[in-house]
């Protein structure tokens, strides 16, 4: 038997034509393997879709006139010079700081500034939830 596996995801995404839907449903009727696959895929799909939508980092400038410049490029020699300065500062800090280095919340924010947001307005435009009960009858 040929299993129409790829139709399963496309079905959930609302990407099947009417004949394809009928083909899939007819197949699912007699194929426990594909019915199980549908459930598995549905779980994964929901898990990915419910990942938190992240806010843009606060420092990211999105104004056309505000000197939009890629952060890590075209800096040439400056990078080397900056690295030397950073190393020096770290060395001095290590001498002056009695305990191990700690990281402030502000530093964490700027380093990993991706704040979780559960804003539903940002979700995918289209969510098609298949009627499992109907499918698995």
């Amino acid at each position: 038997m040929t299993h129409p596996g790829e139709l399963i995801s496309a079905y959930m995404d609302g990407e099947l034509t009417r004949p394809e839907i009928e083909q899939l449903l007819a197949h699912l009727d007699g194929c426990g393997r594909c019915a199980a696959e549908l459930q598995q895929v549905q779980i994964v799909r929901s898990a990915v879709r419910s990942l938190p939508r992240l806010e843009l980092p606060a420092g990211l400038i999105l104004e056309a006139d505000a000197g939009l410049v890629p952060l890590h490029r075209n800096k040439g020699l400056l990078v080397g010079a900056a690295a030397a300065v950073v190393a020096l500062v770290i060395a001095i800090a290590a001498i002056l700081t009695p305990s191990a280095a700690t990281v402030s919340l502000e530093e964490l924010n700027s380093r990993y500034g991706a704040r979780a947001s559960l804003d539903p307005a940002f979700g995918p435009a289209k969510v098609v939830v298949p009627n499992l009960a109907e499918l698995l009858e």
Binding site: G5, E6, D13, V41, P52, L54, L56, E63, A114, G123
Partner: protein, 167 residues
């Protein structure tokens, strides 16, 4: 949203900046790389808007985004993508209301993000464009420059691989 075509760069930045950031973040698991990609993509959009021909704006925008991403990968011969650090969400949720509930939810998110990063790029990209960005298969096909049937196949195989690595 696909119906209204943003005409100015500012509108593109406002409407799509966050989506581009989320696309890049889920693809790389890295907030610095994601921020870089937003900037690079918007620069390219600014350069290309004048010659944009009305059609599929989403397809056009995401093709630019994807190409910027791939160029960046090539240019930097990048380090392997790192999983999302645990500190991020713990820190973020420390002060959030209902922290316990959200924490369990986002811990699951960590696993999903790690599983995404383990996917071959073509599958990861297709899944992210579909489930994170919310594009149709047709729009993904335009963005990635492959037939719709290939998109369909990549999304399904990607989800099955995700399922395996999450089990």
């Amino acid at each position: 949203m696909t119906e209204s075509v943003p005409l100015t760069w500012e509108e593109v930045a406002r409407v799509y900046g966050r989506k581009i950031y989320n696309f890049a973040y889920r693809l790389t698991g890295n907030s610095d790389d994601a921020a870089d990609l937003v900037q690079e993509t918007l620069l390219r959009v600014r350069g290309g808007l004048a010659s944009y021909q009305p059609g599929s704006f989403e397809g056009w925008l995401w093709r630019i985004t994807r190409n910027a991403f791939l160029d960046d990968v090539r240019r930097r011969n990048r380090r392997p993508t790192a999983p999302l650090p645990d500190e991020v969400d713990r820190w973020d949720l420390a002060s959030a209301p209902a922290a316990d509930i959200e924490y369990s939810r986002i811990s699951i998110g960590d696993d999903v993000q790690k599983a995404l990063l383990e996917l071959p790029f073509e599958f990861r990209e297709a899944v992210v464009l579909c489930d994170i960005v919310g594009l149709s298969y047709e729009e993904i096909a335009r963005a990635v420059a492959v037939p719709v049937g290939t998109v369909r196949s990549r999304i399904h195989r990607g989800r099955k691989l995700l399922r395996e690595s999450l089990t």
